[in-house]
Structure formats: structure tokens, C-alpha cells
Symmetry: C2
């Protein structure tokens, strides 16, 4: 079959038109009343614009637990809650272009059913009764498409017939779905841009990217168009957007949260596994989500899940924390370096033992991770992009040019990676020789990227702060520290010149342009230490006490 | 470099000569006093031959717990124990050709050290203080080679510099290593034969194979030359030999027992993972081993291990058991069919709910498993065999002829396998619709192979009873039921003609030849249900009450 050149534009336009028809006009702000495109920071615009009622503001400003409690006590109906979030998500979209699938009608219908059920039976359908949850556009939802930013997937299939396992479990617990959120093409770029939905910008500073690949999710949550959203991460795709919007997030070890039925840009890749996890404005919401999913015993629903329930863990009162402020591949920009200083000082002041952590093998781990992404020679992605004539963005040209590996070559990379995993674990457990109490470190704290949100189009090619932990399959949390400040974060004089990318990032850095961007860091626990990561985040959150 | 044709014979001869020099003459039975080669069943030969002292017989006839207790109470020394097992293993080798590396001197030295430590300190070094453990010749031991049956590995390296993680942990607990045991070339055949060490025969009937790939281990344990041995399994390699020698065994889910530092025939293959687990004469020994390894917290030593401690589980008093007596790919030979009838009747009589289980997708799972083994086009194996000119056995010619897959093709197989995993799990959990109490099945019971031990060289090409559970990564136990009996297991009249292999197996079956062979079955639990499998084995063992 010959595909007409540029048919991708027609398909994308058709898809967007159908989506746009799903918005409710009453919830949209007239174009001329929106902030002008040169308004960088739109964080407080929704609150101050008067478009939401007080009740809507109160609902969307609440944490999940409050929402659930207020539905339980009948202070609010599930309909009230769904409606408020649909309204706010609509405006968040107008400000950042964060949504893909929109299905407010179904959400309100579902909320009505939940209210009726509660009214009729006196029972809640589950612990998430009436809670709106937003999903990255890679989770299959019955009756919806899943584009993962690829034009050929707009109508292929037009509607999935089954929920992804995670969606099914959340739905059974009472969650209400209402939107899916934007991603890069095949979810394989650090900015959420594609030929269907366009680019999602960062509400903290719209000159900056929302990050990728869960950028739509992060922008939506930051504007409180959602209380809990679910993203996915195979090289940093939860953590980068979460850090660019100063959110909390968890990249779990593979097998803790169910992945079956999520659409992949690289289906069948298992050398490094995509995982999914929550992005939230608060730590309370993060924990509530993790507990709720694990309470569903996902191992009974997804054959790759691991039978580890959510565990109560106790952490030492004083932590042993290793800090790696610079991976020697790309030096963080000044605001991120300041963020590292802030956390370091706060930890020391609070009596925790802080040691330095060398980024040993990080470069090789990152290289191998990239090799895995490209190991099929881009066959799976280019088959889809070629089908409609869609062109590859500059970030992804290597998917069109990399040679396909032979399986024997892949095995060699696996074997090397397995050795590096062992080496990293041994180093972690031997770190007691560097701490005061002789016990190994509890966590590593690192930048998530070199950026406080990268200027749109200028991420360049390094995900080496995040991707090593995908290969190691460690549990990683994201926490906000501060915002970029042009007065506190001036250009530095000298380049580190680690790599050409490093030099480019140094040249690009512009304090004015980055002003207001997010500085959020990674806290890294070992495999299956999600509970511990959350407990450590509680300690850190108290020390930092961040608010926008 | 040109390798002289047949250099492999010289290398192998040199290696065997070095190994033979390690035997202790005083422990070897003079050739002319050994049973004649036409003595098929040598199970009781060691006991009755008068070569072992009463004390040696008592030690080697004890379960591990008794051995450990008697060392603790100083009834026996670790030296007594090591010496007894070295002696008995020597004779077991003379009867079945089961050993590869032999290092009795080091074992006795180690035992002496342990005795001295206990004498000096009053303390045991760990819970396995003085327990001899035999290892399949794929576990690296510091100072020893690991051939995995490949000539090119005889001296390459001549000595490994580090213990495999499992070996290190067992050693720290006090285990004494003294032998490694025979395997097929690269551990990829169902019979333990190779160009270095030759063939390991079955002590229950030496016309039969000991099975593969942990055949040396199984033969040694059956003759009580070891109380606990460790094998590995990527397609059936623990289960087939365990079943051919009527042993107990566990094929655990990947990640429960550490695998790092075990040599692989297919290094870097991860589409299906090799796992290791114990083979024993008793269920008590099986459980002791599992508990001991998990008590070492292997996840702190092997980055691929999963943080699930050994758990106390309770099983229903009356089990829901699905029985699949025939996988419709190769019909079991008559003794195995009788074994299935025995367990079925015993379970029903004891009040358990027994339902039939269809082998849905087993053929496809087995096909995919084979495709994974061959996905590198045999590159890794033929590189090693070509290096010395060693020829491939008929079972392995496909490693020399299969085309190498491209990574994109591998990904398609992964995706298909992932769907099959989900489908199987769903079917398992939906099985409550078939049981009396409405609860899903607790386990599946199946033949392990079509054979009560195959006649040497006549396994043919089907591992479809075992390999589907490698792909599903389920926890599987092996338990003995009965022995083949020429009077009870006559030739049946008609072939099932499922497949050409099936027809060959039917034609080969000879009641006289198979007489005395083992009939042991698989009991299959879901992922990470090793504890439950052991509890279920306790129920079954009481019902069957097997002894040779």
C-alpha cells in the first residue's frame, strides 16, 4: 500500500478535531481572556482568574485523602469532584496543551453511577470511590485510543477493547478516568511533543519544556487539573517531567506496579523494562496511590508482578545519604547545583551523615541503556512513522539511522549490564566504610537532569542522570527543592567541557530564560525499596518545606 | 588461529587425567569388584558391597538436619562427614560417571578447619556448619574450573578467581564443597553427556539416562554420594534429572535464589532465565536448603534477586488440584501414565478436589522457549565448540543450523510470550469455576517428561512438559511416585500420533528396558510460591509414601 506523503497531517488533524469536540464549551476560557503567550509563569492563573467556583477551587486544591473523605461524608458528591477536575483540566490544557484523550461525559456518567451506588447501598465501591485519576497516553482504556504520540496509532485501533491491568484495578477501586495526557513520539524523547498533539509547555515557565515522556501528566498535575496522575519511565520518563514541574513521583522497581496492557513505543523490549508510577503535588498523594495499587495484589492480575505487598518499614532517625552532585557527563546548570547545596546543607544541619558518591559506571550504564532502546535498529518505531509519512524529530533521528543488533550482540550487552548491576550493589553495600556509623548508605541524592526545566528544544541528548537507575532497576523518588532564580543562579564563568553535550548545555544556560523553573532532585533507594524511599521523602520534605 | 582438528580430544583427555588424579585410591573400588556393566539397578550396591564402614553408611544415609545436629553434638566431626561423602561419591562415580571436578583434599582441609573452629570457639560458623553440598558443573568455585561440558572451557579459565554468589553464601553458612557434577554440552541437552566427561547413567537402571542437564547431580544424590545438590533449570534441567532419579527438587521462580557467577551455556540470554535449585532424596532436605539460602538475604548479594524472605504459608486442608496427564504433544509412556493414576486416586481418596487441566498454549510456550535458546543462532555455543573442533551431539545440531534472530524478531516473541503469561494466569485464577469450593486451583500436577527415564540416546526433542513453566516462571516441585514395572506397564496397542516425536517415543517404549526407571511428577505452583509448593509436597508425600 502506498501512503500519500504527509497523510500524517490529515490523520492528526482529524484526531485533534475529534478530541476538541469533546471539550465542554462552558469550561473553556475564551481565547482573549487567556494569559498572553509571553506570560511565562501561569502557576497561579487558574486560582486568580475567577473561572472556577470556590467549591471547584477547594476540591481541586485538596489532597486525595480529603477528596475521598469528603465524598464519604457526602460533603461532596463524586459528580462535584469529577466536574471540578474536568473544568480545571480544561483550563490547564488551554495553558499548556497537556491533554490528548478527553472524555468528560463518561467521567461524569461514571461519577453519577458511583453517587447512585453510594446512595442506594450506603457502600463505597472501593477505597478510591470517586477519585479522578489522569493517565499518560500509553495506558489502554476500554473504548479509547492510545496514541503514545504516534500518528499511525490515532485510529489503530480507534478504541481499545480492554483496560490495561492498572486501569482495571484502579477502576475497580472506584477511580474516575477523564483524560489522558501528552507524551513525545513513542515516549522516547525528553520533551512531550509529537505530530498529533503538539508540544506541552511548562506551567512554571512556558519557555521551558514540561519534560518527557510524562510531560502532559506533569503539567496537568502542576496546575491541579489532576490530583494523582500515572506516568511511565524507561529512561527517566516519570522523573524528568516530575522534576521539571517540582512534583513528587516514584519510579518503582519493575514488578511492583502492573504494566500489562500499557502500550509501548518499543513493544517487546525487555533488556530494560518500562515501569509506571504516580506523579503528585504532595507526598500524601504519592503514598496513598502506592498503597492503593499494592492493596489490589497486582501479582494476581499481571504475570510479571511480584508478590511483595506494601510493607511498613522503619528508617533510621539519622540517615546515611550519598550525594552525587555532578555525574561528570553533563554538569548541572547553576540552579540545580544550588538545589544540591540546599539539600546537602539541610541534611547536615539536621544531623544526617552525608558522604560524596562517585558516578562510577554511570556513563557506561547510560550508554547501554541507549543501546537497548536502539537495539531493534528503530524498526518498531519507523514502521509506524513510515506508515503515515510522519517525520522523526531531531531528538529521535537515531531511531532512523542506528543499525539493528543481532541477538548475540544483545546478549553481550546483557552480560555486561548484569556485571555492572552486581558491581553497583556491592559498592552500595560496602559504603559503610565511608559512613560514620559503619552502615551502608540509605540513599543517593542526585540531580534528575542538568536543568531546572530545559528551554524548549534544548534538552540535547543526555538522560544519564536517570537512565542508569533504569538499568539497575532501583526505586527512585523525586522531590522539589526550589525554583531557578536569575539573581541566585547567574551564568558561571567556565565550562566543564566533559562532553560536547555538556558544553552545549553550558552555552545554552540563560538565567533569565530559566527563571522560575523547577529544581527537583532524585532520591535513589535500592531495588524494591519504594516504601523506604517514601519514608525518606517524609524526612526530606520536612527539611525543605517547599512551596511554589 | 587454526585449531588442529580433534584437538578437543587431547584437551578433554588432559582434563580427565587431572581429575582422575584427584580421586583417593583408598576410596575406589577395584575395577573387578564393581558390578558388571549389565547390572542395571545399582541403587543398593553401595550399601551391600561392604566398601563403606557402618559409620560412613550411617552418615551418608542421614538427612541434612541429622548430620548438622550430630556435628553440633560432636557425635560426628565435620571431617567424619566430609570423608564419608567423599568416599561414597567416589563409588557413586564409579557406578554412574557422575563427577567432573573432584577436590576431596580441599574438602577435608575445610572440614578440619571447621572442626578446629568449633573446638576452639565453641561456635559453629553458620547453620550449615560441616554440611557437604555438591554442585552442578556450572557454579564457579574459587580455584576450580567450570566446564559446563564444553571442552574449550576445561582450562579457560583453568581456575575461577571468585565463588559464584550462591557458593559464597553457602560457604559462609558452613557448607563443605567436594565435587562438581556432570552436565550435557552447554547444559542444553536432556542427557548428561559431553566430550570431556562422557555420559552419566542412571543408577536405578543404567540402560537409562540420568537426564539433563543436572544429571550428574541427580545420579550422585540418588546414590547418597551427596545429601543436597544444586542444579540449574532453563527448560527442565533440574526437573528432568530429578524425575529420572525419583528425587525431590524445586525449580524456583527467577530471583529467589542467586544466579550471579554461575556459568551459562547461553550467556546473556534473558528472554528466559536460568534458575538454580536443590535436588535431594528427602523433602526435609529440600526445605532446609531453601530456608538456608533465603536466610542469607541473597538480594543483598545478587542484584537480580528479589527481596522476598522465606515465608510461612498455610495451605488449605483439602487442595484443589488440576491434573494434566497428557500434554497432547508427546503422550507419556505407560509407567508415567500409571504414576498419574496413582496420584489422582490418592488425592481423590484423601478428599482433595481434582479437576482436569487442559494444556492450552503449552505447545506454543515450548516453541517460543526453544526459539529463545536458539535466538543467537547458536553463535555463543558454536564459537566455543569450534574453538577446539568439538562436534555437536545430535540433540544439538540445531545450534549449528538455526539462523540468528534480529532483535526486532526477538521483541515480537517477547510480546507474544507476555500475552501468553497473562492468559495463563487469568485461566489459573478463573479455575474456581471448575472447583467444588469455587476457589482457584492450588497447583497443577503433570508428568515431567514422557519417560520413566529415557533409554540412553532416545529422549528425542521434546521438553514441552517442562519448558512452558520456564517461560511462565512458575515455581515447580518434583516428587517421586513409583518405579516402572514391566508387568504393570506393558506396551500399549495404539499410538496417539500427536507428533513425529510422540510416535517415536511410543515405538521406542520397551517395558523390559525401562523396568525400574523412576516415575516422578511435577507439582506446579504460581510465581513465587515455592513455600506453598513445599507445603503441598508434604501432603503428597504422606499420601504416596514412596521408597525405592
Amino acid at each position: 500500500m502506498t501512503v500519500p506523503k504527509h497523510s500524517y497531517k490529515d490523520i492528526a488533524a482529524k484526531k485533534v478535531k475529534l478530541r476538541n469536540a469533546k471539550f465542554n464549551a462552558k469550561w473553556l476560557v475564551p481565547e482573549d481572556q487567556l494569559p498572553s503567550p509571553d506570560t511565562k509563569d501561569v502557576l497561579n492563573w487558574i486560582e486568580s482568574s475567577g473561572n472556577l467556583t470556590d467549591k471547584e477551587l477547594k476540591i481541586t486544591g485538596s489532597i486525595a485523602e480529603t477528596i475521598l473523605d469528603n465524598i464519604k461524608t457526602k460533603e461532596w458528591t463524586a459528580y462535584d469532584v469529577a466536574s471540578a477536575f474536568c473544568h480545571r483540566a480544561s483550563i490547564a490544557h488551554q495553558l499548556t496543551n497537556c491533554l490528548t484523550e478527553v472524555f468528560f461525559d463518561e467521567a461524569l456518567e461514571r461519577a453519577t453511577e458511583l453517587d447512585k451506588y453510594y446512595e442506594d447501598t450506603g457502600k463505597l465501591v472501593g477505597p478510591l470511590h470517586g477519585l479522578p485519576i489522569s493517565l499518560k497516553d500509553n495506558f489502554n482504556i476500554k473504548g479509547k485510543a492510545t496514541t503514545v504520540g504516534i500518528v499511525n496509532f490515532c485510529f489503530n485501533p480507534e478504541y481499545f477493547e480492554e483496560d490495561a491491568v492498572l486501569v482495571k484495578l484502579l477502576r475497580e477501586q472506584g477511580a474516575v478516568f477523564y483524560v489522558k495526557t501528552n507524551v513525545p513520539v513513542a515516549m522516547m524523547m525528553p520533551e512531550s511533543i509529537n505530530h498529533i498533539w503538539g508540544n506541552t509547555t511548562n506551567p512554571m515557565n512556558r519557555l521551558l519544556s514540561s519534560g518527557g515522556s510524562s510531560g502532559g501528566e506533569a503539567a496537568l498535575i502542576k496546575l491541579k487539573g489532576s490530583v494523582i496522575g500515572v506516568g511511565s519511565d524507561i529512561g527517566g520518563s516519570i522523573r524528568i517531567p516530575a522534576s521539571f514541574q517540582n512534583l513528587y513521583a516514584i519510579r518503582p522497581t519493575f514488578g511492583r506496579f502492573p504494566t500489562y496492557g500499557a502500550r509501548s513505543g518499543l513493544p517487546g523490549l525487555e533488556s530494560v523494562n518500562s515501569v509506571n508510577g504516580p506523579l503528585t503535588n504532595t507526598l500524601e498523594d504519592l503514598e496513598l496511590y502506592c498503597k492503593s495499587v499494592l492493596a489490589c495484589e497486582p501479582w494476581l492480575h499481571d504475570g510479571k508482578c511480584i508478590e511483595i505487598p506494601w510493607r511498613k518499614v522503619q528508617i533510621p532517625e539519622k540517615l546515611n545519604i550519598a550525594i552525587c552532585g555532578d555525574d561528570l557527563i553533563t554538569r548541572p546548570t547553576p540552579p540545580v547545583r544550588r538545589g544540591i547545596s540546599i539539600i546537602k546543607e539541610a541534611l547536615i544541619k539536621d544531623g544526617h551523615d552525608v558522604i560524596d558518591w562517585e558516578p562510577i559506571d554511570h556513563l557506561r550504564l547510560a550508554q547501554i541503556c541507549t543501546s537497548f532502546f536502539l537495539s531493534d535498529g528503530g524498526v518498531h518505531i519507523t514502521k509506524e512513522t513510515d506508515a503515515t509519512g510522519e517525520t522523526l524529530f531531531p531528538y529521535m533521528t537515531n531511531y532512523g539511522t542506528s543499525p539493528e543488533l543481532k541477538v548475540s550482540e544483545l546478549w553481550k550487552l546483557h552480560a555486561e549490564r548484569t556485571t555492572l548491576i552486581k558491581k553497583y550493589l556491592d559498592r552500595w553495600l560496602a559504603s559503610g566504610s565511608l559512613t560514620k556509623n559503619g552502615k551502608p548508605i540509605d540513599a543517593i541524592i542526585m540531580p534528575t537532569t542538568p536543568f531546572a526545566g530545559n528551554p524548549n528544544g534544548k534538552y540535547h541528548d543526555s538522560v544519564a542522570y536517570t537512565s542508569p537507575f533504569n538499568l539497575l532497576d532501583y526505586s527512585v523518588g523525586i522531590f522539589p527543592v526550589t525554583r531557578a532564580n536569575k539573581d541566585l543562579d547567574p551564568v558561571d564563568d567556565s565550562s566543564s567541557n566533559y562532553t560536547p553535550t555538556d558544553t552545549k548545555i553550558w552555552r545554552d544556560y540563560n538565567p533569565e530564560e530559566s527563571h522560575g523553573g523547577a529544581v527537583a532532585l532524585q532520591i535513589i533507594g535500592r531495588k524494591f525499596q519504594e516504601e523506604k524511599v517514601i519514608e525518606m521523602l517524609k524526612v526530606i520534605t520536612k527539611l525543605i518545606n517547599y512551596s511554589d
